[in-house]
Amino acid sequence: MKIGVVTFPGSLDDADARRAAAVAGAEAVALWHGDADLHGVDAVVLPGGFSYGDYLRAGAISRFAPVMETIIKKAGEGLPVLGICNGFQVLCESHLLPGALIKNHHRKFICKDQPLRIENNRTAWTSDYDANHEITIVLKNQDGSYVADEATLDRLEGEGRVVARYLDENPNGSYRDIAGITNERGNVVGLMPHPEHCVETLTGPTTDGLGFFTSVLKAVVAS
């Protein structure tokens, strides 16, 4: 069982995502943005960071990396893909997920321990959580405010595709407190907060993030 983690120029949480995959029991595989080969991985994580320095727009340039062509194609065939923070931005820029992420409404970078509610535990990445499971994981971003038009938001809500929602104070101005969404098939998930930083109590506020990685192991075995 292999989880691939893509490194773009400017990726920052790639080593953390690999560690989290390993803690969950997977073999973590480093994937390079310039290499279109996925090296036989069973799932892919697009990690956080500032790929290409967020030039143009966050995620806008990474979307054109050779590795993304393969990922977009395989995602259409059901490959589990999790985009975290900058990875979520890349998924939106790639049109694997609807909407966009814009600058936090308070204009500042924010790093905090953020309570969330898992609202869809049927995706490839969330099946290990209970329905409406409340978790606290790390949030850290500059461009974390999820936006989409009303029709899209209504459709996401109607189809149960809001994966996670912020609890307590909305930290970045995201519409309808949305922290994460999924595609229709449930194999592609974009999440603004960072579950990979919550897999061991020594270095993270909780271990609440581990479920994303254990979920995908089960999803891959089940398929």
């Binding site: 120029p9 400017g10 500042k108 790093c111 270095t203």
Partner: protein, 757 residues
């Protein structure tokens, strides 16, 4: 007309000895210019003048501080953790921490640029110190930023603080480096002189250590990273060495502009170059740009160096050779590479989309020769540029106001006595700018990235896991109380060292080495120079007593407005080593600690001068700072480290600014559980709460370990007194007052947002 036709060549300099040169505008004094002429036996070319002026500036040459900094060599160069592998003079000091690992760390100032252009000044301060660390061969693993500002409510503070914080965060976050500590301090003397000190910690295997030199005739000099532009030209000589004159021309163009994305590529690229073993010597380009890198690399090597300046890739094609030599464009490095490794070197750079160009080679002439389109524009002995700058023995004298200041102690000021008055005093103190919650600042920094942050602000020190298997880690704290240093710079420097040392030990790590950032006013002021020499003396004596060496650091002079210098601010960073980070001691009182006994370690004296109480309640600064007893600090550190290792304590927090009251408030709010406390026998409740005697910490001891813990203190004859128990949701000072944690939290957290949002 092309720019090269203007070049002032060496032969031109020989034939036109009487040309007027702008040495004064470049910051050189008349005797310094004459010395350059004497060294060369002719007038310098304009390129040589540019190089000397940059390298002989205060910032690069340490000309006012050099004679005093030599004293750091008196400290034994061994650390309690292991050998020093590189010391002062290298890009950063390196110490052996065991298991084959070495750690490098250093703090530097970027004060003046951050006043002119807060965001870019602070951002490039982070960028510069990070490049110092990668130049040693280490992977940067964390940063910390001690920051100091004018009064919180001053209009200029509202200009510089958000920009500086955003710049520190914007750059460090984009590099993927956790920011795990630092300070935020306010004092009127920093108005117009904000202090932006940036510290970086790096980790490497012993065999990866690289030093900055260019050796081996025929080896190629490769410049890689960002292209060279017009930013930061003369930043060093223009900005760092003089105070800002009223009504002078704007100096904004002299501040560099940072690109953290390029720096992130530079980090990964450089580490891959080291791993591929294709680098002989390396240096980052910081203050002094190419002037500094070429002259320092060449003088540290065994031969000479020839450089073709026209091969430097430019962002702005109109730059003159003088400007190229002086440019402080960020995110550049220079490496010495053997001819057979050049191709592999360039290939790795291409992988990371990093531009790299061979611009010169090592020669056997012993000279630094620089050409511009085939014409020689520089021909010097590199050491005359890099190391043989002027050395000043600046006059220093104890200021005549020092006696009166020390006579005016705060111990005579009116104090709160009733419970209600004590309660009111505590609430005012916790809400004051220096003691309040700093998360408005620190929440703009990523403290989690890399996944090895075991402790980060507001813990006593930041702690990073170095090895995931063994749990080996390092802890770093930075501290300085400038008010204490103003009252007595010798004792103040020792107190800063003691506090930083104590903060590291409080988390369970054994202090091993020191870096310092010595921020002072003008060295041309004899009083300031006395403060500086006293602080060095204190630091040297203190390090000898504690048995830890200074591995590197930085001096920043000219931090003053008109005749008013900043508080003498020797910021001290102490690095400690912990064998197993799972044994770290946090500060917070958590639910699992309900019922734990609280002990105050160390003696509390009637020491209020320079305290936050005197500052906040009376706006007073006078008297003598608290006494410092480094032997007692060592004993306290031993107790804290052993107690951590043996599981005798579950929380510990040092006592410093604001006294025991502040310590208890921070621990209670951090963990969310309160405490019932009392003053130990014979100690006045006011002094118990607010005195700032050094050498103290509050620890939380499980009832099951109480006997073992107190036996250990007794055996060491170290003062310890039970002062309470962790319980409830209030801070209850028995027979005096009780404050709900919700009320404390509101008071503590409201201050910065209310002014800065």
């Amino acid at each position: 007309m092309s720019p090269q036709s203007h070049a002032d060549t060496v032969s031109n300099a020989n034939s036109t000895p009487d040309v007027e040169q702008p040495w004064a505008e470049l910051g050189l004094k008349p005797d310094e210019y004459q010395r350059i002429r004497d060294i060369l036996g002719r007038r310098p070319t304009s390129c040589e003048l540019a190089m000397y002026s940059v390298m002989w500036s205060e910032h690069c040459s340490y000309k006012s501080s050099k004679v005093h900094l030599k004293r750091f060599g008196e400290i034994p160069q061994e650390t309690p953790a292991g050998k020093m592998l590189a010391g002062i003079g290298e890009n950063a000091g390196v110490i052996d921490i065991g298991e084959g690992y070495a750690v490098t760390f250093k703090v530097e100032s970027h004060n003046h640029p951050s006043y002119v252009e807060p965001y870019q000044g602070a951002a490039t301060g982070v960028g510069g110190i990070v490049r110092d660390i990668i130049a040693m061969g280490a992977r940067p693993v964390a940063v910390m930023d001690p920051l100091r500002f004018g009064p919180l409510d001053a209009p200029d503070t509202k200009r510089v603080l958000p920009g500086i914080v955003s710049g520190v965060g914007g750059y460090g976050n984009s590099l993927g480096l956790p920011n795990i500590g630092g300070e935020v301090v306010f004092d009127p003397t920093y108005l117009g002189n904000p202090l932006v000190n940036a510290l970086c910690i790096g980790v490497m295997r012993h065999e990866d250590l690289h030093l900055a030199n260019a050796t081996g005739v025929g080896n190629q000099m490769i410049l890689y990273g960002a292209k060279t532009g017009g930013d930061g030209i003369g930043g060093v000589s223009v900005l760092a060495s003089e105070t800002f004159a009223e009504g002078g021309p704007t100096k904004r163009p002299a501040v560099q502009v940072g690109d953290p994305f390029m720096e992130k590529l530079l980090i990964e690229c450089t580490l891959e170059l080291f791993a591929a073993n294709v680098v002989e010597g390396i240096q980052d380009l910081g203050g002094g740009g190419l002037s500094c890198a070429t002259s320092e690399l060449a003088s540290a090597g065994d031969g000479g160096m020839r450089v073709s300046l026209d091969k430097v890739p430019l962002r702005d094609a109109s730059l003159s050779p003088e400007e190229i030599l002086m440019s402080e464009s960020q995110e550049r490095m220079m490496a010495c590479v053997t001819p057979e490794n050049v191709e592999a070197f360039l290939k790795i750079c291409a992988k990371w989309d990093v531009q790299a160009d061979v611009i010169g080679e090592v020669t056997d002439t012993g000279r630094l020769e620089i050409d511009w389109h085939g014409e020689r524009v520089v021909d010097v002995l590199p050491e005359t540029v890099a190391h043989e700058g002027p050395v000043y023995h600046r006059p220093y004298a104890r200021p005549d106001w020092q006696d009166a200041l020390q006579a005016d102690g705060a111990e005579k000021l009116p104090r709160a006595s009733s419970g209600a008055e004590l309660r009111d005093t505590l609430l005012r103190l916790v809400a004051s700018p220096n003691l309040c919650d700093k998360s408005w600042v620190t929440d703009q920094y990523d403290r989690y990235v890399l996944g090895n942050s075991v402790l980060s602000q507001p813990e006593d020190s930041g702690m990073i896991r170095v090895d995931e298997t063994s749990g080996l880690g390092v802890a770093v704290s930075t501290d300085c109380n400038g008010r204490f240093a103003k009252l007595d710079p010798y004792t103040g420097a020792k107190l800063a060292l003691a506090e930083s040392y104590r903060n590291v030990a409080t988390t369970g790590a054994r202090p091993a080495a020191v870096t310092d950032c010595l921020n002072f006013g003008s060295p041309e002021d004899a009083g300031v120079m006395w403060q500086f020499t006293e602080a060095i003396r204190g630091l040297v004596d203190g390090c000898i007593e504690l048995g830890i060496p200074v591995t590197g650091g930085n001096v920043s002079f000219y931090n003053q407005t008109g005749e008013t210098p900043i508080l003498p601010t020797p910021v001290i960073g102490v690095l400690g080593v912990i064998d197993d980070v799972t044994r770290r001691t946090p500060i917070g009182f958590t639910a699992e600690m309900e019922g734990h006994q609280l002990y105050l370690l160390g003696e509390t004296e009637e020491e209020l001068s320079g305290s936050e109480w005197a500052n906040v309640i009376h706006g007073h600064l006078g008297g003598r700072p608290p006494a410092v007893d480094l032997e007692a600090e060592k004993q306290l550190a031993d107790i804290l480290i052993n107690a951590s290792r043996d599981g005798l304590i579950d929380a510990a927090h040092d006592v410093s600014d604001g006294g025991v009251a502040q310590t208890l408030v921070e621990s209670a709010l951090r963990g969310g559980v309160g405490a019932r406390v009392w003053a130990p026998d014979g100690l006045d409740p006011f002094l118990f709460l607010f005195a700032e005697s050094a050498g103290r910490a509050v620890v939380a001891v499980p009832r099951t370990e109480e006997v073992r813990f107190t036996d250990m203190c007794t055996a060491r004859r170290f003062p310890h007194a039970k002062i309470g128990v962790i319980t409830g949701d209030t801070l209850d000072v028995q027979d005096q007052f009780e404050i709900p944690l919700t009320e404390l939290r509101t008071a503590w957290t409201a201050t910065l947002p209310s002014v800065l949002n």
